[in-house]
């Protein structure tokens, strides 16, 4: 650097923050934080490290405007961001350093991708002159994250930061939402440039919401009006497009029994008379069996996941299929559609409403009720009102329902407890079922509950995990303690990786390979983090313990020791048809 340049440089430094027209001279790292504030981000989750330190320095300076939550592992940061996004509908934000910090985000990113959760992840990267040199904590995170992101981008110049972050938020939340990763080299964080911010309003190569053809609306209405045994399966699309009211109005007018996928849970209340339960592997008996009896199957904002369809060749082959969908690549991907209604679910449902004839389909609806009775006698009664020794997961859910009056957001992990929670939790409010549906990420629950509670402190948030998944992200108790996040934590402890054990029992002749868990004292661990904590082992203690937990104004940990070898039924065995669902 010659003398003149040096002089100019000091001059630039002096002029820092002098506003010239609409721009300001600031560093790339400050720009990152300012962009987040411009996008309305109030909370972000992350973990500092070398390559992201300039941004953390700015987060320190801006801490009165944006709250950074120190997670205990980057995976926890992503799940917290996901929980935040799922309960609020806003974009969740996670931040990490290069190398291991970045790779630790991948599980959460993959989870957000498959469950269409809007999330922006920011990673630090080694300085651009070291890219590709195997520098300390260098990893090709853009390459690694490509298959699991909706979009990703590496920034090597500070001047790119505003446009790229604006694009990131636009892509993450528009159309079918998803995760975006922005990787920023350390030199770009230090570099100064003239900052100005403009939100992204469109990208020429990207059509977030495909055009809805009026003809498709009319064709769908015709099929629905002519149907004798119509059946709706709705998914998360109803929640993502804020279509809950429009959806309810349509099914009420047409009188259609409606079932939900795990991701669609809570879009309409559990108690709604047309809500006939969950479809899929551990869903309810009636909607699974009657999928193969309906004459018109109306799929709304769902993607015919294999856990929903079972054996595809024997899935609803008798039915005409209508698919309301925002993502054109989902049409005919798994199930051949007769009428595809592309577009936003809310807009499409509002458009079809006036074309739908009022109907009730009482006789058809009675079939669902009859099959529910069979399921109640064979499964539900024993789950919720057990008489034999050993607590069931179902009765714990029943107590939570009683105490929460269906107002709580239930955040689950993955496994038996998740299926039980989804089957039995009562939901009065939308966005109340926060779970890892598509990826089945053990360890999701506890950190996701942190994000959910922070986004909606006014809501009761109950985290329900098994003893396996809980230990995958148990360190987030530290985050709960530090942030004073008033989540209620329930661990249903059966000392097994229960779902895998169930499969071993049913399909591997009870060879319990590596599914038995020797567990620590969970109450002592919670107390180690200074949380209120209790353990329940007997039925007569359960109601009071749940009541005490729910009444707590602070975080509370409740371990319930449940029967060791309980199974989740009904069950559509892997590769079987939905109508071959087993009740025992």
């Amino acid at each position: 650097m010659n003398f003149k340049e040096e002089e100019m440089d000091t001059e630039t430094l002096k002029n820092k923050k002098t506003i010239t027209k609409n721009t300001e001279r600031i560093s790339g790292s400050e720009a990152v934080v300012r962009c987040l504030i411009e996008e309305g981000v109030k909370v972000l989750y992350g973990y500092p490290g070398g390559a992201i330190m300039p941004v953390y320095d700015e987060l320190y300076k801006y801490q009165d405007k944006i709250h950074h939550v120190l997670s205990r592992h980057e995976q926890g940061a992503t799940h917290s961001a996901q929980g935040y996004a799922r309960i609020s509908g806003d974009v969740g934000v996670a931040i990490a350093t290069s190398g291991p910090g970045a790779t630790n985000l991948i599980t959460g990113i993959a989870d957000a991708q498959i469950d269409s959760t809007p999330m922006v992840c920011i990673t630090g990267q080694v300085p651009s002159h070291l890219l590709g040199s195997d520098a300390f904590q260098e990893t090709d995170i853009v390459g690694i994250s490509t298959p699991v992101t909706k979009w990703n981008h590496q920034v090597t110049k500070a001047s790119e930061i505003p446009e790229v972050i604006a694009k990131a938020f636009y892509i993450a939340k528009s159309g079918r939402p998803g995760p975006v990763l922005i990787d920023i080299t350390k030199d770009a964080q230090f570099e100064e440039f003239d900052f100005s911010y403009k939100k992204c309003e469109g990208i020429r190569s990207y059509i977030p919401i495909p055009k809805t053809e009026q003809a498709s609306i009319e064709a769908a209405a015709k099929l629905i009006n002519e149907a004798k045994k119509p059946f709706v399966i709705w998914g998360q699309g109803v929640i993502l497009s804020k279509a809950e009211e429009a959806f309810k109005t349509v099914i009420e007018k047409a009188g259609i029994p409606s079932a939900w996928t795990i991701m669609g849970a809570s879009a309409i209340p559990t108690s709604h008379p047309l809500n006939v339960g969950m479809v899929g592997m551990h869903g309810n008996y009636a909607p699974n069996v009657l999928t193969n009896e309906c004459d018109v199957l109306i799929a709304i904002g769902m993607r015919f996941d294999d856990r929903v369809t079972g054996k595809l060749d024997e899935y609803a082959t008798q039915a005409k299929v209508i698919h309301f969908e925002i993502d054109p690549s989902e049409i005919d991907k798994n199930v051949k559609t007769d009428v595809a209604v592309l577009g936003d679910a809310k807009a499409s449902l509002e458009a079809i409403l006036p074309l739908i004839k009022t109907n009730s389909h009482l006789k058809w609806h009675q079939k669902f009720k009859d099959l529910y009775q069979i399921e109640f006698d064979k499964v539900i009664k024993g789950d919720l009102y057990p008489t034999k020794e050993g607590l069931t997961m179902g009765e714990v859910l029943k107590e939570i329902n009683i105490q929460s009056k269906g107002e709580a957001a239930i955040v689950t992990d993955v496994g038996q407890h998740q299926m039980i929670a989804c089957r039995y939790a009562e939901f009065n409010k939308t966005k109340s079922n926060i779970t890892s549906g598509g990826l089945g990420t053990m360890g999701f629950g506890l950190p996701a509950a942190i994000g959910a509670k922070m986004a909606r402190p006014d809501r009761e948030v109950v985290s329900i995990s098994g003893d396996g998944g809980y230990q995958m992200t148990i360190q987030e108790l530290g985050t709960i303690f530090q942030q004073k996040t008033a989540v209620k934590i329930v661990v249903l402890n059966n000392e097994f990786l229960g779902m895998v054990r169930q499969w071993q029992q049913l399909f591997f002749d009870k060879r319990y390979a590596s599914t038995e868990m020797t567990n620590p004292d969970f109450v002592a661990i919670a107390k180690g983090y200074y949380l209120n904590a209790k353990r329940v082992t007997k039925r007569e203690e359960l109601a009071d313990a749940v009541a005490e937990m729910m009444a707590s104004k602070e975080a509370y940990f409740l371990e319930v020791c449940v029967e060791k070898e309980g199974n989740v039924f009904p069950m559509v065995p892997s590769g079987a048809s939905v109508s071959d669902i087993r009740l025992e």
Binding site: P147, I171, P328, I331
Partner: protein, 176 residues
């Protein structure tokens, strides 16, 4: 018909972006499809790149692949074409020992009959270039192989469609 494995040409118009090749090839890799050939170049529109990919699969599969490709944020439009819908060329070059050119008169005939051309000749080797349809290239390759080829390289397919592709209109519509 839709279940029969056939050769399809996939053409993809994209923004010119680092990493997009990775994103697109990952779509094939994830589903265990082998790409027969791949060519990327500028397109007729300034700032827009074009991928031309040759693939063997069923029509049902190629439709789904197109959906997955179009879903990528920086892909403007993707199409698949059957063999009869495109006009295409492939190109190849052969490096051969120079003495063959004088010892084996047959080689000169092959070059003439195939409409190939000699690009360069020196003491040790000479280089033949041939552009054409796949079968033509396979034929000259077979014929020259008998004399011993020092090096052989073949390009990916490049293709234009008989029908119009309305990319410019699509991009214009965005600007309005």
């Amino acid at each position: 018909m839709e279940n029969e494995i056939k050769q399809f040409t996939v053409s993809i118009y994209t923004e010119n972006n680092i990493g997009l090749l990775n994103r697109i090839s990952a779509i094939f890799q994830r589903r265990h499809f082998n790409i027969e050939s791949l060519n990327t170049s500028v397109s007729e529109i300034e700032g827009v790149s074009k991928f031309t990919i040759l693939i063997n699969m069923t029509e049902i599969q190629v439709k789904k692949i197109i959906g997955q490709i179009e879903k990528q944020v920086e892909v403007i439009k993707a199409y698949y074409h059957k063999e009869e819908d495109t006009i295409y060329q492939e190109s190849c070059i052969f490096k051969m020992r120079s003495d063959l050119l004088f010892d084996e008169r047959q080689i000169q005939n092959i070059i003439k009959e195939s409409n190939a051309r000699i690009v360069t000749v020196n003491k040790e080797f000479f280089v033949i270039e041939k552009s054409g349809r796949k079968e033509e290239i396979e034929e000259i390759h077979r014929k020259l192989n008998a004399f011993g080829i020092m090096q052989f390289t073949r390009s990916g397919r490049i293709a234009v469609t008989k029908d119009e592709m309305k990319i410019s209109q699509m991009l214009k519509a965005f600007n309005h």
